[in-house]
């Protein structure tokens, strides 16, 4: 325990249980990595074995047969497009809610809370037909618009929470110097609240990269599919080749894992504080 007095308790018990929990969390991921460099026969023989001769070839084959050059490009377009869109829209909204006089701000904040609770199944079917009518099916733009909308309440709220914390004096000083609202936003607020934008961007980007339901519904053309849904198709195509499908999964996971390990504080802060304190 965190004791101010000198008395301390043994933490051995904590470490034993925590270690077991960590094995539970990471063990399966480790096995995925191990299996990704094995043949199906090696996996069948012993899923936990460390391969004597790792078959890194699996990655090259999966990368080529899964058409990763194309799907990664698609995912990058979707992720970048959504992150940029959401930061603009959420940044403007967050600024308005934090620093401008908005009548009915409570209603909007209430919508943002309830809006995230609306089950996607309520609107996905009509949205599909609306998108079909406007020719937005099977387009990256169509998907980006949906992603922007579904992540905008969260993004607006999170960015707002960073902007509220900014000292009012900066804004007042800029106003006295004759800055317009737009100039206050771009010249004062934006440079000061960039950590909020970075955190929001990371979390929205993670969500888009991993997203499945909307992508599988709105993109059917194989050349336009992002990594997530094309990986699904790949798994179904090579259902017997465990080594290959595991390698394909690792390719999708690796960028996320690296980015998460580099910026884990931001990820954890954004996902827990922003997500739960709405």
């Amino acid at each position: 325990m965190r004791l101010r007095s000198g008395r301390t308790e043994t933490t051995a018990f904590n470490h034993v249980i925590l270690f077991l929990l960590a094995v539970f969390a990471l063990g399966p991921v480790l096995v995925l990595f191990l299996n990704s460099v094995k043949t199906s026969e090696q996996i069948a023989a012993n899923p936990f074995s460390i391969p004597a001769e790792p078959r890194f070839d699996n990655y090259a084959v999966a990368f080529e047969k899964g058409n990763y050059v194309n799907t990664v490009k698609n995912s990058v377009i979707l992720t970048a497009g959504t992150v940029i869109g959401v930061l603009i829209v959420g940044g403007m909204g967050g600024y308005a809610l934090a620093h401008l006089e908005i009548r009915g701000a409570n209603i909007i904040a209430f919508y943002f809370l309830v809006g995230t609770a609306i089950p996607i199944q309520l609107y996905v079917v009509p949205l599909f037909f609306i998108w079909k009518t406007f020719g937005l099916l099977n387009t990256h733009l169509g998907l980006i618009i949906i992603y922007c909308a579904t992540s905008s309440p969260f993004a607006t709220y999170l960015i707002r929470s960073y902007m509220v914390a900014l000292p009012k004096e900066f804004i007042e000083a800029a106003k006295i110097d004759g800055a317009s609202k737009f100039q206050v936003m771009t010249r004062v607020i934006l440079p000061l609240s960039w950590p909020g934008f970075l955190t929001t961007g990371l979390i929205v980007g993670l969500g888009v990269w991993n997203e499945f339901l909307i992508a599988v519904t709105f993109i059917h053309h194989p050349d336009l599919k992002p990594v997530a849904t094309s990986l699904r198709a790949f798994q179904e195509r090579f259902t017997r080749d465990w080594g290959l499908t595991n390698a394909a999964s690792v390719i999708m996971l690796l960028p996320v894992l690296i980015l998460f390990l580099l910026m884990q504080r931001r990820f954890i802060e954004g996902l827990t504080q922003g997500g739960m304190k709405m």
Partner: protein, 303 residues
């Protein structure tokens, strides 16, 4: 003179209005996006639910017929009961693990960051990857079960996702494996807000580790705890990804939930009107959960 003052008032009012109006321009994009993608389609769904429509032909208005059909549809009720089981599963096992993990973490300093990262990693992995990983691990001939059988421990080499007795629980297990670490971090953050003095008093009074957890930690993080329980209930209504990817509701609807039932109904069986009716009931269920939460809060529950 009077005229002058009047006009000046007029100018300032107009200026004020323009000023306030221009504030809304900043909010307009986010509001417009939500109207177009979420609000308007949601309302359209209510109208579609009162039609017989395949998505291709002319919709035919049938009033509440879809809802009548729903009441008499055993698979609908089966799916709904699975959503309830799913909710109870997530309200208990991951919450228990999250609380335990966070409480143990709050008691250590060394390696705390390492454990936090380790617990959180499954949460950032995509559903398509997690399901692939567990499909391999739980495969009856390649996975853990088969490996145990070879070591002489029989009985675990079963088709977890292929058997109607285990499919739903198997999928819930995989999804909660991905989710519980998130709760650890949320509860840990809340535990650091609890007054350290309370723990000191409890220790001085000879409270055991479990007693401190029960009587200091849990009451201390109660608002966060209740909020996570609420969010779990809300998130359990549209549960989809893991079920769709691992079993697609099968075998024989043994792991069907409302989300997968609706999805297959609209995009594979082309019963769009009926699917919309299912969607409307899902929204009503969510509304009830939120309403109960709000009422309890008004009645003075500290949540």
């Amino acid at each position: 003179m009077a005229f002058k003052i009047d006009s000046r008032v007029g100018v300032t009012t107009a200026y004020r209005w323009r000023n306030i109006l221009s504030n809304y321009i900043f909010l307009a994009p986010v509001v417009a996006l939500n109207l177009i993608v979420i609000v308007i389609p949601s309302l359209t769904s209510i109208y579609i639910s009162m039609n017989k429509w395949s998505g291709l032909n002319q919709p035919e208005f049938v009033g509440l017929a879809n809802f009548e059909r729903l009441i008499n549809d055993p698979i609908y009720w089966k799916s709904l009961s699975h959503n309830v089981i799913w909710t109870i599963f997530f309200l208990t096992i991951p919450v228990f693990m999250g609380l335990m993990g966070a409480f143990l973490l709050s008691g250590i300093k060394r390696f705390q960051m390492v454990y936090r990262v380790a617990f959180f990693i499954p949460y950032v992995i995509a559903s398509v990857v997690n399901t692939e990983l567990w499909r391999t691990l739980l495969h009856p001939r390649h996975g853990i079960g088969a490996w145990l059988a070879k070591q002489g421990i029989e009985g675990f080499d079963i088709r977890v996702f292929g058997s109607k007795h285990t499919a739903l629980y198997g999928v819930a297990f995989v999804d909660s494996w991905h989710f519980w670490g998130f709760l650890v971090i949320v509860y840990l953050a809340a535990m650091y807000q609890v007054q350290p003095d309370l723990y000191e008093v409890a220790i001085l009074e000879g409270a055991s580790r479990f007693q401190r957890f029960r009587h200091v930690t849990v009451p201390g993080i109660r608002p966060t705890l209740v909020f996570t329980l609420l969010m779990i209930m809300i998130w359990s209504v549209p549960a989809f990804d893991y079920i769709y990817l691992l079993t697609d509701g099968g075998p024989a609807h043994a792991s069907e939930v409302l989300g997968t039932y609706l999805y297959n109904m609209s995009f594979f069986r082309f019963e769009v009107g009926y699917a919309a009716a299912i969607g409307v009931t899902m929204a009503l269920i969510t509304a009830c959960i939120v309403a109960i939460f709000v009422i309890l809060r008004r009645r003075g529950w500290e949540i």
